[in-house]
Protein backbone atom coordinates (compact mmCIF):
# COMPACT_ATOMS: atom_id res chain seq x y z
CA UNK A 1 0.00 0.00 0.00
CA UNK A 2 1.53 3.29 -1.10
CA UNK A 3 0.53 6.85 -0.20
CA UNK A 4 2.24 9.20 -2.59
CA UNK A 5 5.84 8.66 -1.51
CA UNK A 6 5.07 6.62 1.56
CA UNK A 7 5.01 2.88 1.41
CA UNK A 8 3.00 1.78 4.42
CA UNK A 9 2.54 -1.90 3.71
CA UNK A 10 4.99 -3.67 1.43
CA UNK A 11 4.18 -7.07 -0.11
CA UNK A 12 2.79 -8.82 2.93
CA UNK A 13 1.80 -12.50 2.75
CA UNK A 14 -0.48 -13.14 5.64
CA UNK A 15 -2.62 -16.27 5.98
CA UNK A 16 -5.18 -16.97 8.64
CA UNK A 17 -7.00 -20.26 9.22
CA UNK A 18 -10.60 -19.90 10.25
CA UNK A 19 -11.10 -19.98 13.98
CA UNK A 20 -7.52 -18.86 14.53
CA UNK A 21 -6.54 -16.20 17.05
CA UNK A 22 -3.58 -14.21 15.80
CA UNK A 23 -1.81 -11.32 17.45
CA UNK A 24 -0.22 -8.66 15.28
CA UNK A 25 2.60 -6.70 16.83
CA UNK A 26 4.88 -4.08 15.43
CA UNK A 27 6.41 -0.70 16.00
CA UNK A 28 4.38 2.42 15.64
CA UNK A 29 3.97 3.17 12.01
CA UNK A 30 4.80 -0.36 10.98
CA UNK A 31 1.64 -0.49 8.89
CA UNK A 32 -0.70 -2.55 11.03
CA UNK A 33 -3.69 -0.27 10.79
CA UNK A 34 -3.04 0.32 7.12
CA UNK A 35 -2.93 -3.43 6.66
CA UNK A 36 -6.36 -3.65 8.32
CA UNK A 37 -7.65 -0.85 6.12
CA UNK A 38 -6.58 -2.87 3.08
CA UNK A 39 -8.36 -5.97 4.35
CA UNK A 40 -11.60 -4.06 4.90
CA UNK A 41 -11.48 -2.15 1.64
CA UNK A 42 -11.14 1.26 3.28
CA UNK A 43 -8.00 1.39 1.20
CA UNK A 44 -7.43 -0.47 -2.05
CA UNK A 45 -4.02 -2.12 -2.14
CA UNK A 46 -1.81 -0.68 -4.86
CA UNK A 47 -0.56 -4.22 -5.48
CA UNK A 48 -1.40 -7.78 -4.42
CA UNK A 49 -4.65 -9.54 -3.64
CA UNK A 50 -6.79 -10.25 -0.59
CA UNK A 51 -8.90 -13.41 -0.48
CA UNK A 52 -11.48 -14.08 2.20
CA UNK A 53 -13.30 -17.39 2.56
CA UNK A 54 -12.07 -18.35 -0.88
CA UNK A 55 -13.26 -15.16 -2.56
CA UNK A 56 -11.03 -12.49 -4.02
CA UNK A 57 -12.07 -9.30 -2.28
CA UNK A 58 -9.31 -7.04 -3.56
CA UNK A 59 -10.76 -3.64 -4.35
CA UNK A 60 -14.27 -4.65 -3.26
CA UNK A 61 -16.32 -2.03 -1.41
CA UNK A 62 -16.12 -1.97 2.35
CA UNK A 63 -19.75 -2.88 2.82
CA UNK A 64 -19.44 -5.83 0.46
CA UNK A 65 -16.44 -7.18 2.34
CA UNK A 66 -18.13 -6.66 5.67
CA UNK A 67 -21.22 -8.48 4.46
CA UNK A 68 -19.02 -11.50 3.75
CA UNK A 69 -18.40 -11.60 7.49
CA UNK A 70 -15.57 -9.26 8.42
CA UNK A 71 -15.85 -7.00 11.44
CA UNK A 72 -13.34 -4.39 12.52
CA UNK A 73 -12.74 -2.19 15.53
CA UNK A 74 -10.69 0.69 14.23
CA UNK A 75 -7.86 2.28 16.13
CA UNK A 76 -9.58 5.65 16.44
CA UNK A 77 -13.08 4.67 17.59
CA UNK A 78 -15.67 4.95 14.83
CA UNK A 79 -19.05 5.17 16.53
CA UNK A 80 -22.35 6.95 15.92
CA UNK A 81 -21.93 9.90 18.26
CA UNK A 82 -25.38 11.40 18.09
CA UNK A 83 -27.35 8.32 19.17
CA UNK A 84 -27.40 6.01 22.19
CA UNK A 85 -25.12 3.06 22.79
CA UNK A 86 -28.12 0.76 22.40
CA UNK A 87 -28.99 2.19 18.98
CA UNK A 88 -25.35 1.92 17.98
CA UNK A 89 -25.13 -1.76 18.70
CA UNK A 90 -28.62 -2.46 17.39
CA UNK A 91 -27.72 -1.03 14.00
CA UNK A 92 -25.05 -3.71 13.87
CA UNK A 93 -27.18 -6.55 15.20
CA UNK A 94 -30.01 -5.71 12.79
CA UNK A 95 -27.84 -6.57 9.79
CA UNK A 96 -28.28 -10.28 10.19
CA UNK A 97 -31.35 -10.63 12.41
CA UNK A 98 -35.02 -9.75 12.54
CA UNK A 99 -36.17 -7.14 15.01
CA UNK A 100 -36.90 -9.25 18.09
CA UNK A 101 -33.78 -11.33 17.67
CA UNK A 102 -31.71 -8.21 17.04
CA UNK A 103 -33.00 -6.66 20.26
CA UNK A 104 -32.01 -9.70 22.24
CA UNK A 105 -28.59 -9.91 20.63
CA UNK A 106 -28.03 -6.21 21.31
CA UNK A 107 -28.82 -6.50 25.00
CA UNK A 108 -26.73 -9.63 25.26
CA UNK A 109 -23.72 -8.05 23.57
CA UNK A 110 -23.92 -4.95 25.75
CA UNK A 111 -23.99 -7.37 28.66
CA UNK A 112 -20.90 -9.21 27.43
CA UNK A 113 -18.97 -5.96 27.08
CA UNK A 114 -20.14 -4.83 30.48
CA UNK A 115 -21.69 -1.60 29.29
CA UNK A 116 -25.36 -2.34 29.87
CA UNK A 117 -25.44 0.66 32.20
CA UNK A 118 -24.47 2.90 29.29
CA UNK A 119 -27.18 1.60 26.95
CA UNK A 120 -29.26 4.77 27.09
CA UNK A 121 -26.33 7.21 27.07
CA UNK A 122 -25.49 9.26 24.00
CA UNK A 123 -22.22 7.82 22.74
CA UNK A 124 -20.77 11.20 21.85
CA UNK A 125 -20.79 12.07 25.52
CA UNK A 126 -19.04 8.96 26.74
CA UNK A 127 -15.47 8.75 27.92
CA UNK A 128 -12.78 7.45 25.59
CA UNK A 129 -12.66 3.95 27.08
CA UNK A 130 -16.41 3.72 27.16
CA UNK A 131 -16.53 4.53 23.47
CA UNK A 132 -13.95 1.81 22.80
CA UNK A 133 -16.24 -0.72 24.47
CA UNK A 134 -19.29 0.47 22.55
CA UNK A 135 -17.40 0.00 19.32
CA UNK A 136 -16.29 -3.47 20.37
CA UNK A 137 -19.90 -4.35 21.10
CA UNK A 138 -20.88 -3.21 17.62
CA UNK A 139 -18.27 -5.47 16.09
CA UNK A 140 -19.35 -8.50 18.09
CA UNK A 141 -23.05 -7.88 17.44
CA UNK A 142 -22.29 -8.23 13.72
CA UNK A 143 -21.33 -11.86 14.39
CA UNK A 144 -18.46 -11.74 11.90
CA UNK A 145 -16.42 -14.73 10.77
CA UNK A 146 -13.28 -12.62 10.95
CA UNK A 147 -12.77 -10.08 13.70
CA UNK A 148 -10.09 -7.42 13.38
CA UNK A 149 -9.29 -5.51 16.57
CA UNK A 150 -6.96 -2.51 16.32
CA UNK A 151 -5.68 -1.74 19.82
CA UNK A 152 -8.80 -2.75 21.73
CA UNK A 153 -7.10 -2.50 25.12
CA UNK A 154 -5.96 1.07 24.59
CA UNK A 155 -6.96 3.05 27.65
CA UNK A 156 -8.14 0.10 29.71
CA UNK A 157 -7.09 -0.58 33.27
CA UNK A 158 -6.07 -3.81 34.92
CA UNK A 159 -9.26 -5.72 35.50
CA UNK A 160 -11.09 -4.19 32.55
CA UNK A 161 -8.25 -5.43 30.42
CA UNK A 162 -8.60 -8.88 31.89
CA UNK A 163 -12.31 -8.95 31.08
CA UNK A 164 -11.51 -7.81 27.56
CA UNK A 165 -9.00 -10.64 27.23
CA UNK A 166 -11.66 -13.15 28.24
CA UNK A 167 -14.01 -11.60 25.71
CA UNK A 168 -11.47 -11.96 22.95
CA UNK A 169 -10.78 -15.57 23.82
CA UNK A 170 -14.52 -16.33 23.85
CA UNK A 171 -15.02 -14.73 20.46
CA UNK A 172 -12.08 -16.68 19.09
CA UNK A 173 -14.11 -19.86 19.57
CA UNK A 174 -16.67 -18.77 16.97
CA UNK A 175 -14.49 -16.74 14.64
CA UNK A 176 -11.01 -15.98 13.44
CA UNK A 177 -9.55 -13.03 15.32
CA UNK A 178 -6.65 -10.72 14.58
CA UNK A 179 -5.61 -8.42 17.40
CA UNK A 180 -3.26 -5.47 17.08
CA UNK A 181 -2.04 -4.35 20.46
CA UNK A 182 0.90 -2.69 22.12
CA UNK A 183 -0.15 -3.66 25.61
CA UNK A 184 2.15 -6.63 26.33
CA UNK A 185 0.33 -7.59 29.50
CA UNK A 186 -2.78 -7.99 27.37
CA UNK A 187 -0.97 -9.80 24.60
CA UNK A 188 0.47 -12.30 27.02
CA UNK A 189 -3.03 -13.14 28.21
CA UNK A 190 -4.35 -14.03 24.79
CA UNK A 191 -1.51 -14.64 22.39
CA UNK A 192 -0.46 -17.95 20.96
CA UNK A 193 0.84 -17.43 17.44
CA UNK A 194 2.15 -13.95 16.75
CA UNK A 195 3.05 -12.00 13.64
CA UNK A 196 5.39 -9.06 13.94
CA UNK A 197 5.27 -6.25 11.40
CA UNK A 198 8.07 -3.84 10.73
CA UNK A 199 8.36 -1.12 8.11
CA UNK A 200 5.25 -2.48 6.42
CA UNK A 201 6.63 -5.97 5.99
CA UNK A 202 6.30 -9.18 8.01
CA UNK A 203 9.28 -9.36 10.28
CA UNK A 204 8.65 -12.51 12.30
CA UNK A 205 6.00 -15.15 12.70
CA UNK A 206 6.35 -17.37 15.74
CA UNK A 207 4.83 -18.47 19.04
CA UNK A 208 4.57 -15.69 21.58
CA UNK A 209 7.29 -16.93 23.87
CA UNK A 210 9.84 -17.17 21.08
CA UNK A 211 8.89 -13.67 20.00
CA UNK A 212 9.39 -12.36 23.52
CA UNK A 213 12.85 -13.84 23.55
CA UNK A 214 13.74 -12.75 20.02
CA UNK A 215 16.67 -10.32 20.17
CA UNK A 216 15.77 -8.35 17.08
CA UNK A 217 12.11 -8.02 18.08
CA UNK A 218 13.27 -6.67 21.40
CA UNK A 219 15.53 -4.34 19.43
CA UNK A 220 12.86 -2.85 17.23
CA UNK A 221 9.84 -3.20 19.43
CA UNK A 222 9.77 -4.62 22.91
CA UNK A 223 12.62 -2.93 24.66
CA UNK A 224 12.95 -3.87 28.33
CA UNK A 225 9.37 -5.16 28.42
CA UNK A 226 10.62 -8.53 27.28
CA UNK A 227 12.48 -9.17 30.49
CA UNK A 228 9.40 -8.30 32.49
CA UNK A 229 7.82 -11.43 31.00
Amino acid sequence: MRFGGVTAVDNVDFNLKDGELRCLLGPNGAGKSTFFKCLTGQLTPTEGTVTFAGQDITGAHTHQIVNLGVGIKTQVPNVFDGITAYENVRLSARRKHLKPMAKELTMHTLERCGITHLAKREVGLLSHGQRQLVELAMVLAGEPKLILLDEPAAGMTGDERDRLAQLVLESARSAAVVVVEHDMAFIRQIAKFVTVFNRGAIFREAMIDDIMQDREVQEIYLGKQANAA
Binding site: V66, F80, D81, G82, L91
Partner: protein, 348 residues
Protein backbone atom coordinates in the same frame (compact mmCIF):
# COMPACT_ATOMS: atom_id res chain seq x y z
CA UNK B 1 -36.25 8.91 17.31
CA UNK B 2 -35.93 5.75 19.36
CA UNK B 3 -39.31 4.85 20.65
CA UNK B 4 -41.62 3.72 17.85
CA UNK B 5 -43.75 6.44 16.33
CA UNK B 6 -46.88 4.75 17.55
CA UNK B 7 -45.79 5.29 21.15
CA UNK B 8 -44.87 8.95 20.76
CA UNK B 9 -47.66 11.21 22.03
CA UNK B 10 -46.13 14.15 20.17
CA UNK B 11 -46.87 12.38 16.90
CA UNK B 12 -50.57 12.00 17.66
CA UNK B 13 -50.77 15.60 18.87
CA UNK B 14 -49.30 16.84 15.60
CA UNK B 15 -51.58 14.74 13.43
CA UNK B 16 -54.59 15.74 15.54
CA UNK B 17 -53.76 19.43 15.17
CA UNK B 18 -53.31 18.90 11.46
CA UNK B 19 -56.68 17.22 11.04
CA UNK B 20 -58.39 19.79 13.24
CA UNK B 21 -57.07 22.65 11.11
CA UNK B 22 -57.92 20.76 7.96
CA UNK B 23 -61.59 20.45 8.82
CA UNK B 24 -62.15 23.48 11.02
CA UNK B 25 -60.39 26.16 8.97
CA UNK B 26 -62.68 26.24 5.91
CA UNK B 27 -65.79 26.71 8.02
CA UNK B 28 -64.27 29.13 10.50
CA UNK B 29 -62.02 31.38 8.40
CA UNK B 30 -62.66 33.84 5.59
CA UNK B 31 -61.57 33.15 2.06
CA UNK B 32 -58.43 35.26 2.19
CA UNK B 33 -57.11 33.67 5.37
CA UNK B 34 -57.72 30.25 3.89
CA UNK B 35 -55.65 31.15 0.85
CA UNK B 36 -53.01 32.49 3.20
CA UNK B 37 -52.62 29.31 5.20
CA UNK B 38 -52.85 27.28 2.01
CA UNK B 39 -49.61 28.94 1.08
CA UNK B 40 -48.04 27.98 4.40
CA UNK B 41 -49.16 24.41 3.86
CA UNK B 42 -47.57 24.25 0.41
CA UNK B 43 -44.28 25.73 1.55
CA UNK B 44 -44.27 23.52 4.65
CA UNK B 45 -44.18 20.50 2.36
CA UNK B 46 -41.18 22.04 0.65
CA UNK B 47 -39.56 22.69 4.04
CA UNK B 48 -40.22 19.07 5.02
CA UNK B 49 -38.38 17.80 1.97
CA UNK B 50 -35.20 19.54 3.05
CA UNK B 51 -35.81 18.92 6.74
CA UNK B 52 -35.87 15.22 5.98
CA UNK B 53 -32.77 14.81 3.82
CA UNK B 54 -30.75 17.19 5.96
CA UNK B 55 -31.94 16.32 9.43
CA UNK B 56 -32.26 12.57 8.95
CA UNK B 57 -29.89 11.80 6.10
CA UNK B 58 -27.15 14.33 6.79
CA UNK B 59 -27.41 15.46 3.16
CA UNK B 60 -27.11 19.19 2.83
CA UNK B 61 -28.69 20.60 -0.30
CA UNK B 62 -28.18 24.26 -1.16
CA UNK B 63 -30.24 23.73 -4.27
CA UNK B 64 -33.42 22.09 -3.03
CA UNK B 65 -35.34 24.60 -5.14
CA UNK B 66 -34.15 22.73 -8.21
CA UNK B 67 -36.63 19.97 -7.33
CA UNK B 68 -39.29 22.41 -6.22
CA UNK B 69 -39.01 24.21 -9.52
CA UNK B 70 -38.78 21.02 -11.53
CA UNK B 71 -41.98 19.81 -9.92
CA UNK B 72 -43.66 23.16 -10.51
CA UNK B 73 -42.70 23.38 -14.17
CA UNK B 74 -43.49 19.71 -14.76
CA UNK B 75 -46.96 20.25 -13.36
CA UNK B 76 -47.48 23.52 -15.23
CA UNK B 77 -46.45 22.14 -18.61
CA UNK B 78 -48.23 18.82 -18.15
CA UNK B 79 -51.49 20.26 -16.87
CA UNK B 80 -51.63 22.98 -19.53
CA UNK B 81 -51.17 20.34 -22.20
CA UNK B 82 -53.45 17.71 -20.69
CA UNK B 83 -56.08 20.09 -19.34
CA UNK B 84 -56.27 17.75 -16.37
CA UNK B 85 -54.28 17.99 -13.13
CA UNK B 86 -54.27 14.47 -11.72
CA UNK B 87 -51.56 12.86 -13.81
CA UNK B 88 -49.46 16.03 -13.79
CA UNK B 89 -49.51 15.90 -9.99
CA UNK B 90 -48.16 12.36 -10.17
CA UNK B 91 -45.57 13.37 -12.74
CA UNK B 92 -44.50 16.24 -10.49
CA UNK B 93 -43.54 13.62 -7.94
CA UNK B 94 -42.07 11.01 -10.28
CA UNK B 95 -39.87 13.21 -12.44
CA UNK B 96 -38.13 15.06 -9.60
CA UNK B 97 -37.65 11.75 -7.81
CA UNK B 98 -35.94 10.29 -10.87
CA UNK B 99 -33.92 13.45 -11.32
CA UNK B 100 -32.99 13.29 -7.64
CA UNK B 101 -31.89 9.70 -8.00
CA UNK B 102 -29.80 10.58 -11.03
CA UNK B 103 -28.20 13.59 -9.41
CA UNK B 104 -27.72 11.60 -6.21
CA UNK B 105 -25.98 8.86 -8.14
CA UNK B 106 -23.79 11.45 -9.81
CA UNK B 107 -22.82 12.96 -6.46
CA UNK B 108 -22.62 10.14 -3.94
CA UNK B 109 -20.94 7.63 -6.20
CA UNK B 110 -18.49 10.45 -6.87
CA UNK B 111 -17.71 10.57 -3.12
CA UNK B 112 -18.89 14.19 -2.92
CA UNK B 113 -19.64 15.22 0.62
CA UNK B 114 -20.63 18.05 2.96
CA UNK B 115 -20.22 21.55 1.61
CA UNK B 116 -18.95 20.44 -1.80
CA UNK B 117 -22.12 18.46 -2.16
CA UNK B 118 -24.07 21.51 -1.11
CA UNK B 119 -22.46 23.60 -3.78
CA UNK B 120 -23.00 21.01 -6.50
CA UNK B 121 -26.72 21.05 -5.71
CA UNK B 122 -26.61 24.83 -5.75
CA UNK B 123 -24.90 24.86 -9.10
CA UNK B 124 -27.45 22.47 -10.57
CA UNK B 125 -30.22 24.74 -9.35
CA UNK B 126 -28.47 27.76 -10.84
CA UNK B 127 -28.07 26.07 -14.21
CA UNK B 128 -31.75 25.20 -14.16
CA UNK B 129 -32.51 28.80 -13.24
CA UNK B 130 -30.35 30.25 -16.00
CA UNK B 131 -31.85 28.02 -18.66
CA UNK B 132 -35.43 28.65 -17.56
CA UNK B 133 -34.75 32.37 -17.53
CA UNK B 134 -33.50 32.06 -21.07
CA UNK B 135 -36.77 30.64 -22.41
CA UNK B 136 -38.47 33.97 -23.11
CA UNK B 137 -38.58 33.52 -26.88
CA UNK B 138 -41.64 31.87 -28.51
CA UNK B 139 -39.43 29.01 -29.74
CA UNK B 140 -39.29 27.70 -26.17
CA UNK B 141 -42.60 25.99 -25.70
CA UNK B 142 -43.54 22.43 -24.84
CA UNK B 143 -46.77 21.60 -26.59
CA UNK B 144 -49.32 24.22 -25.58
CA UNK B 145 -47.15 25.62 -22.82
CA UNK B 146 -44.88 28.61 -23.38
CA UNK B 147 -42.06 28.50 -20.83
CA UNK B 148 -41.97 32.28 -20.87
CA UNK B 149 -38.53 32.86 -19.37
CA UNK B 150 -38.32 35.44 -16.64
CA UNK B 151 -42.06 36.14 -16.79
CA UNK B 152 -42.89 32.51 -16.21
CA UNK B 153 -45.99 30.52 -17.13
CA UNK B 154 -49.35 32.19 -16.43
CA UNK B 155 -52.84 30.73 -16.00
CA UNK B 156 -51.96 27.26 -14.76
CA UNK B 157 -55.09 25.15 -14.18
CA UNK B 158 -56.52 24.89 -10.68
CA UNK B 159 -56.65 21.46 -9.08
CA UNK B 160 -59.78 19.49 -9.93
CA UNK B 161 -61.52 16.33 -8.81
CA UNK B 162 -59.55 13.41 -10.31
CA UNK B 163 -61.12 12.28 -13.55
CA UNK B 164 -63.47 15.25 -13.83
CA UNK B 165 -61.55 18.24 -15.22
CA UNK B 166 -64.71 20.33 -14.97
CA UNK B 167 -64.88 20.16 -11.20
CA UNK B 168 -62.41 22.79 -10.03
CA UNK B 169 -61.70 22.82 -6.36
CA UNK B 170 -62.65 26.07 -4.65
CA UNK B 171 -60.00 27.58 -2.38
CA UNK B 172 -61.52 25.87 0.67
CA UNK B 173 -61.38 22.43 -0.89
CA UNK B 174 -57.95 23.09 -2.34
CA UNK B 175 -56.77 23.94 1.17
CA UNK B 176 -58.15 20.69 2.53
CA UNK B 177 -56.54 18.62 -0.19
CA UNK B 178 -53.17 20.25 0.39
CA UNK B 179 -53.52 19.89 4.14
CA UNK B 180 -54.20 16.20 3.56
CA UNK B 181 -51.01 16.01 1.46
CA UNK B 182 -49.04 17.63 4.25
CA UNK B 183 -50.41 15.33 6.93
CA UNK B 184 -49.83 12.22 4.84
CA UNK B 185 -46.27 13.22 3.99
CA UNK B 186 -45.60 14.03 7.64
CA UNK B 187 -46.89 10.66 8.80
CA UNK B 188 -45.05 8.84 6.04
CA UNK B 189 -41.79 10.52 6.94
CA UNK B 190 -42.23 9.85 10.64
CA UNK B 191 -42.62 6.15 9.95
CA UNK B 192 -39.84 6.11 7.41
CA UNK B 193 -37.48 7.70 9.91
CA UNK B 194 -38.44 5.29 12.66
CA UNK B 195 -38.00 2.35 10.30
CA UNK B 196 -34.70 0.53 10.05
CA UNK B 197 -34.05 2.34 6.80
CA UNK B 198 -34.42 5.62 8.65
CA UNK B 199 -32.20 4.56 11.52
CA UNK B 200 -29.49 3.55 9.12
CA UNK B 201 -29.55 6.92 7.42
CA UNK B 202 -29.26 8.53 10.83
CA UNK B 203 -26.28 6.27 11.46
CA UNK B 204 -24.76 7.41 8.18
CA UNK B 205 -25.36 11.01 9.19
CA UNK B 206 -23.40 10.31 12.37
CA UNK B 207 -20.48 8.35 10.93
CA UNK B 208 -20.23 7.12 7.36
CA UNK B 209 -17.14 5.01 7.92
CA UNK B 210 -18.77 3.02 10.69
CA UNK B 211 -21.95 2.63 8.69
CA UNK B 212 -20.04 0.99 5.85
CA UNK B 213 -17.98 -0.98 8.37
CA UNK B 214 -21.29 -2.44 9.55
CA UNK B 215 -21.97 -3.47 5.97
CA UNK B 216 -24.43 -0.79 4.91
CA UNK B 217 -24.04 0.62 1.39
CA UNK B 218 -23.77 4.27 2.28
CA UNK B 219 -23.95 5.56 -1.27
CA UNK B 220 -27.11 3.67 -2.19
CA UNK B 221 -28.78 4.69 1.04
CA UNK B 222 -27.97 8.35 0.43
CA UNK B 223 -29.21 8.25 -3.15
CA UNK B 224 -32.55 6.91 -2.00
CA UNK B 225 -32.91 9.51 0.75
CA UNK B 226 -31.97 12.28 -1.64
CA UNK B 227 -34.42 11.06 -4.27
CA UNK B 228 -37.26 10.90 -1.76
CA UNK B 229 -36.47 14.45 -0.69
CA UNK B 230 -36.50 15.49 -4.34
CA UNK B 231 -39.89 13.89 -4.93
CA UNK B 232 -41.46 15.63 -1.94
CA UNK B 233 -40.02 18.95 -3.03
CA UNK B 234 -41.47 18.23 -6.47
CA UNK B 235 -44.96 17.75 -5.08
CA UNK B 236 -44.58 20.98 -3.15
CA UNK B 237 -43.63 22.68 -6.41
CA UNK B 238 -46.71 21.35 -8.15
CA UNK B 239 -48.93 22.49 -5.28
CA UNK B 240 -47.25 25.89 -5.51
CA UNK B 241 -47.89 26.11 -9.24
CA UNK B 242 -51.59 25.36 -9.06
CA UNK B 243 -52.05 27.43 -5.88
CA UNK B 244 -50.55 30.52 -7.50
CA UNK B 245 -51.91 29.72 -10.97
CA UNK B 246 -48.59 30.92 -12.31
CA UNK B 247 -44.97 29.88 -11.97
CA UNK B 248 -41.76 31.70 -12.71
CA UNK B 249 -38.00 31.12 -12.35
CA UNK B 250 -38.09 32.47 -8.80
CA UNK B 251 -39.24 29.00 -7.83
CA UNK B 252 -35.81 27.69 -8.84
CA UNK B 253 -33.86 30.66 -7.57
CA UNK B 254 -31.04 30.59 -5.08
CA UNK B 255 -33.32 32.59 -2.82
CA UNK B 256 -35.91 29.83 -2.82
CA UNK B 257 -33.26 27.27 -1.89
CA UNK B 258 -31.88 29.51 0.81
CA UNK B 259 -35.36 30.10 2.19
CA UNK B 260 -35.82 26.38 2.67
CA UNK B 261 -32.50 26.18 4.51
CA UNK B 262 -33.53 29.08 6.69
CA UNK B 263 -36.89 27.57 7.57
CA UNK B 264 -35.31 24.27 8.54
CA UNK B 265 -32.61 25.94 10.57
CA UNK B 266 -34.95 28.35 12.28
CA UNK B 267 -37.35 25.54 13.10
CA UNK B 268 -34.68 23.06 14.08
CA UNK B 269 -32.62 20.52 12.14
CA UNK B 270 -33.34 16.93 13.08
CA UNK B 271 -37.05 17.47 13.61
CA UNK B 272 -39.99 17.42 11.21
CA UNK B 273 -42.21 19.86 13.04
CA UNK B 274 -39.39 22.38 13.15
CA UNK B 275 -39.20 23.06 9.43
CA UNK B 276 -42.96 23.49 9.28
CA UNK B 277 -42.98 25.95 12.15
CA UNK B 278 -39.95 27.81 10.85
CA UNK B 279 -41.59 28.11 7.44
CA UNK B 280 -44.89 29.38 8.73
CA UNK B 281 -43.24 31.83 11.09
CA UNK B 282 -40.92 33.41 8.55
CA UNK B 283 -43.48 33.50 5.74
CA UNK B 284 -45.98 35.11 8.06
CA UNK B 285 -43.41 37.70 9.10
CA UNK B 286 -42.53 38.51 5.49
CA UNK B 287 -46.17 39.02 4.66
CA UNK B 288 -46.92 41.14 7.72
CA UNK B 289 -43.91 43.36 7.18
CA UNK B 290 -45.16 44.29 3.71
CA UNK B 291 -48.48 45.50 5.10
CA UNK B 292 -47.23 47.67 7.94
CA UNK B 293 -45.53 50.91 7.07
CA UNK B 294 -42.05 50.05 8.36
CA UNK B 295 -38.93 51.83 7.19
CA UNK B 296 -37.86 48.96 4.95
CA UNK B 297 -39.52 45.56 5.12
CA UNK B 298 -36.53 43.59 3.93
CA UNK B 299 -34.13 45.22 6.38
CA UNK B 300 -36.42 44.43 9.29
CA UNK B 301 -36.85 40.83 8.18
CA UNK B 302 -33.08 40.53 7.96
CA UNK B 303 -32.63 41.85 11.46
CA UNK B 304 -35.21 39.44 12.80
CA UNK B 305 -33.46 36.50 11.14
CA UNK B 306 -30.15 37.44 12.72
CA UNK B 307 -31.68 37.77 16.15
CA UNK B 308 -33.40 34.44 15.67
CA UNK B 309 -30.11 32.65 15.04
CA UNK B 310 -28.41 34.22 17.99
CA UNK B 311 -31.31 33.75 20.37
CA UNK B 312 -32.24 30.21 19.36
CA UNK B 313 -29.05 28.56 18.10
CA UNK B 314 -30.60 25.11 18.05
CA UNK B 315 -33.76 26.28 16.36
CA UNK B 316 -37.20 26.80 17.79
CA UNK B 317 -38.40 23.26 18.35
CA UNK B 318 -35.26 21.71 19.91
CA UNK B 319 -34.88 24.75 22.14
CA UNK B 320 -38.46 24.40 23.29
CA UNK B 321 -37.91 20.69 23.91
CA UNK B 322 -34.73 21.11 25.93
CA UNK B 323 -36.42 23.86 27.94
CA UNK B 324 -39.18 21.45 28.84
CA UNK B 325 -36.65 18.71 29.61
CA UNK B 326 -34.49 21.03 31.70
CA UNK B 327 -37.57 22.18 33.56
CA UNK B 328 -38.45 18.57 34.22
CA UNK B 329 -35.01 17.69 35.58
CA UNK B 330 -34.95 20.78 37.76
CA UNK B 331 -38.33 19.81 39.05
CA UNK B 332 -37.05 16.34 39.90
CA UNK B 333 -34.02 17.94 41.52
CA UNK B 334 -36.11 20.21 43.68
CA UNK B 335 -38.05 17.15 44.68
CA UNK B 336 -34.93 15.45 45.94
CA UNK B 337 -34.18 12.71 43.39
CA UNK B 338 -31.39 14.18 41.24
CA UNK B 339 -27.92 13.99 42.84
CA UNK B 340 -26.75 17.39 41.66
CA UNK B 341 -23.57 19.14 42.75
CA UNK B 342 -23.55 21.90 45.33
CA UNK B 343 -21.82 25.21 44.61
CA UNK B 344 -22.78 27.66 41.90
CA UNK B 345 -21.53 27.75 38.36
CA UNK B 346 -18.28 29.57 37.68
CA UNK B 347 -17.94 31.25 34.29
CA UNK B 348 -15.18 29.70 32.23
Amino acid sequence: MEKPVTRDPGFYVMVAIGLAVMFAAPVMLDLFTIMQITQYVVLSVFALSLGYIWGFGGILSFGQAAFFGLGAYTFAVASINMGSTTIPMVLAFVIPTIFGAALGYFMFYGRLSDVYLGVVTLVVALIFWKLINHTAGPEYSIGEARLGGFNGIPSIPTLHVPGDPGAWLDPGQMFQVFMAFLIIIYIALRFLIASDFGRVSIGIRENETRASLLGYDVRKQKVVVFAIGGGIAGIAGAMWATYQAFIDPNSVSMEMSAKALVWVMAGGVGTLVGPIIGCILLQWLTLQLGTVDVVNSIAVLGAIMMILVLALPKGIVPTARSLMLGGYVLWKRNHGQGQAMPGKAVKE
